[in-house]
Symmetry: C2
Subunit: 295 residues, 2 copies
Amino acid sequence: MLGAKIHRVAIAGGTHGNEFTGIYLVKKFQGYPDLVQRPSFETVPLLTNPQAFALKRRYAEQDLNRCFLPADLQSSTSTSYEALRAKELYQTLVAQPESKADFILDLHTTTANMGLTVILVNHHPFNLRLAAHLSAVNSAVKIYSAYQPGKTLAFLNSLCEFGFAIEVGAIAQGTLRADLFQRTEALIHTLLDYLDAANRNASPPVASSLTIYQHLRTVDYPKDEHGELLGMIHPRLQDQDYQPLHPGAPLFLTFDGDVICYEGDATVYPIFINEAAYYEKGIALCLTEQQTLEL
Amino acid sequence: MLGAKIHRVAIAGGTHGNEFTGIYLVKKFQGYPDLVQRPSFETVPLLTNPQAFALKRRYAEQDLNRCFLPADLQSSTSTSYEALRAKELYQTLVAQPESKADFILDLHTTTANMGLTVILVNHHPFNLRLAAHLSAVNSAVKIYSAYQPGKTLAFLNSLCEFGFAIEVGAIAQGTLRADLFQRTEALIHTLLDYLDAANRNASPPVASSLTIYQHLRTVDYPKDEHGELLGMIHPRLQDQDYQPLHPGAPLFLTFDGDVICYEGDATVYPIFINEAAYYEKGIALCLTEQQTLEL
């Protein structure tokens, strides 16, 4: 089913240096490598942005997880810490046969109430079946797809056909929550077991279809002509990630007390609602469409 | 009752640059000054650490809210941005008669589940009565006292006999939550109304006693000999700020799955559980004692 066997799995943590769950899971796996080894492949836990973690910030100079466009990886003009780190990671995870990864799992957290989310960067049938398996084992797992045909993505996961990110929340930057730590760890073990079974052509059967949340577009906060914030997520929308947002429903509450509503024609499913790191990106939430994919 | 009348109230926001609730309340009050004016005094909303807010970090070089020891304010050797800013604030809020504040309200947020908390830096009867009034109007308001007889505190509030901080949470750094924004704003209006009534010797009566949570000590995370984190807040303690912690109850869960329990002799009341900014300070939580003060 897989075509080529998986020989090496990279578990990346700290692609954003203030997302501690992945960082301390990677440190745990580095300290106890047996936990993530499986008979049919090697697992390499990897701290991807150590400088950002040292600073306890998302990044030192620029967002590492937007540095993986092929053109940027080949550019000799980009010299930020993260641009150089992306090139190192490309060498490690793609170019060098002795360290090349066949599957990349990138661990993230969010201040949005997204629970356990798989973030797909492509719709390879293997990734879809694995995602379906994870959500079958744990019904709280949601599948968000950032894939857009014809668009090249700049994520760490773009380096590898197999794999995806796991986004866990709600959790404040720079903190750990034991419940989310344990739920993320359990999800990783389910995933590694599936990969091991797939290598033996013994992957468990999955349902014939999969519900995903397909990225549509981002929505910015209300702002004045100088780019100053004029409002915040409406209290009725706060923490309602993956819940249907109907035309006319409230999106924002301005500081003056005015309500700004969703003016679209169709019901959508917002995610990344009130993600701290997205204030600077001009993203208050992402709108997605619920879709059913046949497997 | 007050001795001297209150002529000027300072509302400080952004003493920590990533605590947005106070910052955007101050910006709102700067845009609509009438909201916080009262007949008997002037109110000055003040962004206290603009450089930290520009960086969207707690501070640029050091924690501003630890820079207000008298010795540091007089020192000529401290040259960090925040040390200099503390001296400017001392000039504005204390030394210069034309801008001197008689009451300082300092607005903070926390990733701990502390709801609306008044943080006392002294036990002046006026502050205690005001705190009692706030908790009478809104029973969710808790009173935490950082006051320790004989110990000089380094907080912005240490500049002024009258006033205290308000700590609001749980909220992630670098975000706004409309519900907490509105509850904080309502608390400020109740406070300003009380000050105005007190200036007219017409303050509403308060109960004869007040429950406070008196600071005892801080507790650090479990760490190895290199200072590396070994665990996190136990899931049963997470978000349980102001709930009784009995001897033998779980405090931490290590990454290995071991439980570390509270070994004290007496029931205490933990607060600032899992505050993001306190990881670097070596504080996992603060233990307090519930006390009743006569008013």
